[in-house]
């Protein structure tokens, strides 16, 4: 669906995107992840033919962004960071205008406008001036604008930025609902968003590709060991942290025990074990047999935050290693 090969975009002095390559399959939702200023928007602008690449190629449904921009533009829907709205227009008027621009046949236009208004839940605001809409509804109109011509590829630049929590959840659901019909790339600097909406993730930092993989694979790959959080409470007498730790370390397969917290008389430990070796059952038995209460036993998943930090840290280590 989308094929990017060694894409580079250079501005006068800075390199915004540096030699990025990735591919996106049909029907996927791909999260484009990176801190602010990583080159997400620039990459998206290249994909939407707003900016030409300095070097490399980008193809959408087999059409090159530089050589066949009109064909590409017909097949993409784009929601920039700030929705491109005309405040002096009514919602329906605006969608009709965009529909015409995107080349929808006159006969189908009215129906399409109704459909997308319904789909983006802006039906009741149909005849309101866009300037009178709240931020969340403007975002929806922006999304409606992007899908009006039923594009193969949807490119959304920070679709949830600046929305309140309820609106964020609604927008995410909306985007998930659009997958399948469309291939979606959405950029964000919020990692939990990718975990919740995307199947695939592309991480960039300072214009360079850091990782591209499925969300699960990435978590799996980076996690050398698995860890479990254990909360233990005393039954009769107070707990001795050192003793408890020693007992936990004796469980077969455990590689490391770290005391994380102490709440009143309860103790919280994080127990790391070798990958692929289930230790939770053993741990539970060890705790109970020692005469303590087991309050909680919970696997700790490596969050994308940690993945991101780990990846960028690895990158930095490589860079300094290379310099030496």
């Amino acid at each position: 669906m989308i094929k990017v090969e060694s894409l580079t975009k250079r501005y006068a002095r800075t390199v915004a995107v540096n030699d990025i390559s990735f591919e996106v399959e049909k029907g996927q939702i791909v999260g484009f992840l990176g801190p602010n200023g990583a080159g997400k928007t620039t990459t998206m602008r290249v994909l939407t033919c707003f900016l030409p690449p300095t070097a490399g190629t980008a193809k959408i449904v087999g059409f090159d962004v530089l050589k066949q921009p009109l064909e590409v533009k017909r097949r993409i829907g784009y929601l920039p960071e700030t929705p491109p709205l005309y405040p002096e227009m009514e919602v329906v008027e605006y969608l009709t205008f965009v529909g015409k621009l995107k080349g929808i046949a006159r006969a189908d236009l009215k129906q399409r406008v109704e459909e997308v208004a319904e789909r983006c839940a802006i039906g009741e605001y149909r005849y309101k001036l866009i300037s009178k809409l709240s931020r969340g509804y403007r975002q929806r109109v922006g999304l409606a604008q992007a899908i009006i011509h039923n594009p193969d590829v949807l490119i959304l630049d920070e679709p949830t930025a600046g929305l309140d929590p309820k609106q964020i959840i609604e927008t995410r659901e909306l985007i998930k609902g659009l997958a399948g019909d469309h291939t979606i790339i959405l950029s964000t600097h919020i990692l939990s968003e990718v975990e919740q909406t995307c199947q695939h993730v592309i991480i960039i930092d300072k214009g360079k590709l850091v990782a591209t993989d499925s969300v699960e694979n990435l978590t799996h790959r980076l996690r050398g060991s698995e860890s479990v959080a254990v909360e233990i409470a005393p039954r009769d007498s107070a707990l001795d942290p050192v003793l408890v730790r020693q007992r936990l370390e004796q469980v077969a397969g455990v590689s490391r025990v770290i005391q994380k917290d102490r709440r009143d008389s309860r103790l919280v430990f994080e127990v790391e074990s070798q990958q692929g070796r289930p230790v939770r059952g053993e741990l539970a038995r060890a705790v109970v047999e020692a005469g303590w209460n087991l309050n909680e036993l919970r696997p700790v998943a490596l969050s994308l935050e940690e993945i991101f930090l780990a990846l960028t840290a690895a990158e930095k280590a490589d860079a300094t290693g290379g310099a030496q």
Binding site: F50, L70, L85, Y86, E88
Partner: protein, 255 residues
């Protein structure tokens, strides 16, 4: 072509859905109304005088009322045009809607033509306001209508040329005030270039004076249709739109 039409309708409607359009029309109507009143008052006065002095021939309305009025419209146009063109591209750049236009399956030229045609149409609407005043001249006298038509053609051509230049200036900035100021400065220069020919006759002075929009409007105001002047205006329109297209292209490569 359909895209040009779509943008043309949107743009033209834009003039009438904000206060700018109405302010410009009102501004023009008041100023032109004043000039019209003064021109007819002087005309009436002097024709009374000439009758009392016993001159039999009635005074020529075209020469005494319409021609100076048309010259006035041409000058008021210089002030009105920056107000018409300032938002064309600057507003889209500021609000980010330019991204919508440039990522839609539309050619740059279609965008530019749609916008320029809408601006020219709006200018034509303003000219119609002035024609409403002239209707009174027809009620109370018998001026020749053919020179008037030629004068209006000239006004439209002059407007089109300056609007094309204004569109170019608007496409270079995201600030409407700068767009309006810049356009006004250029319009003013193109107007005062004409003065140079009044006291100098060197080749340079003649060339500079040739570049003035006013030099080429004078024949139109007299009712003279000269291809040289038409070519001047048409090439100015072409040049302005060409520069706008280049400016939009540079937006892609630079931004």
């Amino acid at each position: 072509m359909r895209n040009t039409w779509t943008l043309y309708c949107k743009e033209l409607k834009g003039y009438f859905s904000s206060w700018v359009g109405y302010v410009v029309i009102a501004f023009f109507a008041v100023i032109f109304g004043y000039f019209f009143y003064v021109a007819t008052a002087i005309f009436v006065n002097s024709s009374f005088q000439s009758q009392m002095m016993g001159r039999g021939m009635p005074m020529d309305m075209n020469e005494w009322v319409i021609r100076p009025l048309m010259m006035n419209v041409s000058v008021i146009g210089l002030f009105v045009i920056p107000m018409i063109t300032m938002r064309l591209f600057a507003e889209e750049k500021r609000s980010g809607t330019i991204e919508l236009l440039m990522t839609s399956p539309v050619r740059d030229l279609e965008i530019i033509l749609g916008k320029w045609l809408a601006a020219t149409t709006f200018y034509a609407v303003i000219l119609v306001i002035s024609a409403l005043n002239l209707a009174f001249v027809f009620i109370y006298g018998q001026p020749d209508w053919k020179p008037i038509l030629v004068a209006y053609l000239g006004l439209l051509l002059q407007g089109g040329a300056l609007l094309a230049i204004g569109a170019f200036i608007s496409s270079m900035t995201r600030n409407q005030i700068i767009a309006a100021g810049g356009t006004f400065a250029v319009c003013l220069l193109l107007w005062v270039f004409e003065w140079l020919s009044s006291y100098e006759t060197t080749a340079l002075a003649r060339a500079v004076s040739y570049a003035s929009v006013l030099t080429h409007f004078e024949p139109f105001a007299k009712g003279v249709l000269d291809t040289r002047d038409m070519i001047y205006y048409l090439s100015a329109i072409f040049f302005g739109l060409f520069l706008t297209a280049r400016s939009m292209e540079s937006l892609r490569w630079r931004a």
